[in-house]
């Protein structure tokens, strides 16, 4: 009989890290050892994570695909499922379906300078690609990360941002919205698009990954354009609401794309061809 495509794998919570007042990241491993050995994914793909009794939610797998013993996801506490995930403790069980969707073209990006632009809770889907690039350091040129959040307290993965900044040929620029700074804030103050433009990142032979709220993406694109980075070299990950993840339930359509199947990763050139349905 055909397998039940809706039935998840069971995963054990290895550890939980509280990133901000309402964001946590969770590290998981498969309960089934054979499944753990067989599992692989590509950075940029997503999973459907579940708290039994509450339901499923879709998150990017925010760990590097080189980390064979675990996967990680990160979420903000905003609804029924994430409230339940918030109460997880080490040793608890969650459901996982995936990996689903397409991925970042990490091979295509080899030999190029990488620019990562993220806003708020969009750092996790960038983080997996940054770690992947750092673990294959010789294959990529300069790496720039510009990351902003509303306030200092809303920045996630701050320890890792500091660690990246110490690496060779990596520049990390952090910013918070005006008014979101603290007295000891040493990063920039301003919105991601303006901070990015001020940072004067060399644009030659660059590929950019831009993920964040629609307004951030909208205002960042003209900056990239002025820098001479063509839309075909600018990537994003769409976040249309999904339920099934396997091209059936019908809600992630944008244009004639099933975002769960043909996405979530698109070039801005492809996004520009989509109707405003995302």
């Amino acid at each position: 009989m055909t397998e039940n495509i809706y039935k998840p794998d069971l995963m054990e919570v290895m550890s939980i890290r509280r990133e901000t007042a309402d964001v946590k990241s969770v590290r998981l491993r498969f309960r089934d050892e054979a499944r753990a050995r067989a599992f692989s994914f590509r950075v940029g793909q997503f999973g459907i994570f579940s708290a039994f009794g509450y339901g499923e939610s879709v998150f990017n797998i925010c760990s590097s695909s080189n980390w064979r013993d675990r996967i990680e996801f990160c979420f903000r506490r905003v609804g029924r499922v994430t409230e339940a995930l918030w109460d997880l403790e080490e040793g608890d069980t969650v459901g996982f379906r995936g990996p689903y969707g397409n991925s970042y073209p990490m091979e295509e990006w080899e030999g190029r300078n990488l620019i990562f632009l993220g806003g708020g809770i969009a750092m996790p889907p960038i983080r997996c690609a940054v770690w992947y690039a750092l673990e294959n350091r010789q294959k990529y040129g300069d790496i720039t990360v510009v990351y902003g959040a509303r306030t200092v307290g809303d920045l996630v993965f701050t320890g890792e941002l500091a660690e990246w900044a110490r690496r060779d040929r990596v520049r990390v620029v952090q910013c918070v919205d005006p008014g979101g700074e603290t007295p000891d804030w040493k990063g920039e103050i301003g919105f991601v698009p303006t901070v990015f433009e001020r940072a004067q990142v060399p644009a030659g032979n660059a590929a950019a990954l831009v993920i964040g709220p629609p307004i951030m993406i909208k205002n960042t694109l003209p900056v990239l354009d002025r820098m001479g980075i063509p839309p075909s070299a600018v990537y994003t990950s769409l976040e249309n609401r999904m339920k099934c993840g396997v091209g059936k339930c019908g809600r992630c359509n944008a244009g004639s794309m099933y975002v769960c199947k043909e996405g979530p990763v698109f070039t801005m050139e492809a996004v520009a061809r989509l109707p405003m349905d995302y």
């Binding site: 809706y6 039935k7 069971l10 039994f52 459901g95 339920k243 091209g247 059936k248 099933y258």
Partner: protein, 335 residues
């Protein structure tokens, strides 16, 4: 010459089917002016004639509520268990061909890349016997989708009324042959199919309009009456969107799927509060856009059979036919 079965013969067939412990569904007169498709336990419940039920036969393949599997919490572990899946043989009487014609169209989405065993098992186990239409009403537009009152797509056998409570049996598949083996008599009676309703619009033009005129004010001006009730989607034989949720109490429950509709405001609502389809016009547009552009582009089939249920059941006078004929009358197609 033709093979004939009487209404009484059909009831005997249905009774024998039930006696074999198998599942049976078809049109039932639930009120004087209401016919619904329902699962039945006695052949007498069935309305065995050409008719236009308010719902469609899709629910016998893709139920409105379905358990996908069960979960049981054990300490900090979880056990998952399969639920009983209705996999046994099923016989469905379709009151009209446009209901059965939806099945091969739905097969595409439930079968691509990740086969959906719940749907596919039922498809495999089900025999569909269809009554050819004897008339059409003002909502019917099957001919605009390349179908007809005697269309055979998706049916295992077609029954064509031949007068005096008799039906000409046109066997179409092996399943149909097996069902009617030994139950027909040879006769010189001939079935008569209804005259086809007029072609009301050009489906390809509707798809092109939805694709090219996505931002056209047409969508807003022509869908203002929509209440967002979802009756169109729920009674549509091809609409197949669903939600997945958990239903349980205490330490055990089920993950289930329920029908959903692109007409509901929460359908595309993001956790952030952003909603790509923020108004009802965008949702009505999606219904046309998906049926006439997305699905054909993806799967090579239009996601509509012209049954007219959306128009017949809409409390606001909308539906595919009223909207698309507005598009296709030409005035909205000019650049």
């Amino acid at each position: 010459m033709s093979e004939i079965v009487t209404e009484g013969g059909l009831r005997e067939l249905a009774g024998a089917w039930l006696a074999g412990g198998k599942r049976l569904a078809g049109p039932c007169r639930v009120k004087a002016d209401r016919v619904f498709y329902r699962a039945v336990t006695a052949p007498g419940e069935l309305l065995l004639a050409s008719c236009r039920p308010d719902n469609s036969i899709k629910e016998f393949f893709f139920p409105r509520h379905e358990k996908l599997y069960g979960y049981r919490l054990t300490g900090n572990g979880v056990e998952l268990f399969d639920t009983e899946e209705a996999t046994g043989a099923q016989l469905v009487f379709a009151g009209r061909p446009c209901d059965a014609a939806a099945l091969p169209v739905l097969d595409h989405v439930f079968n691509w890349d990740f086969p959906d065993r719940f749907y596919l098992q039922r498809r495999e186990a089900t025999t569909v016997v269809t009554f050819a239409c004897v008339d059409a009403d003002e909502h019917c537009f099957c001919t605009s989708l390349g179908l007809a009152p005697g269309a055979v797509r998706g049916s295992d056998a077609l029954l064509v009324a031949a007068g005096d409570g008799a039906f000409e049996v046109r066997v179409l598949t092996e399943k149909g042959r097996a069902l009617f083996a030994g139950r027909t008599v040879v006769s010189d009676k001939q079935g008569r199919v209804a005259a086809p309703p007029p072609v009301r619009f050009d489906a390809a033009a509707a798809g092109a309009f939805a694709r090219d005129r996505f931002e056209d004010p047409f969508w807003r001006t022509h869908t203002l009456a929509c209440l967002g009730c979802g009756a169109c989607a729920y009674t549509c034989p091809t609409c197949h969107c669903f939600d997945i949720a958990d239903e349980g109490a205490g330490s055990t429950g089920h993950r289930v799927r329920n029908w959903d509709s692109c007409q509901f405001d929460m359908f595309t609502l993001h956790a952030s509060g952003h909603n790509p389809r923020a108004g009802q016009a965008a949702r009505q547009r999606q219904r046309i856009y998906h049926k006439f552009h997305v699905y054909p582009e993806k799967f090579g089939a239009i996601l509509c059979t012209g049954c007219g249920n959306c128009g017949r059941n809409c409390p606001a006078g909308l539906g595919v036919l009223p909207l698309v004929t507005e598009i296709d009358d030409g005035k909205h197609l000019q650049a």
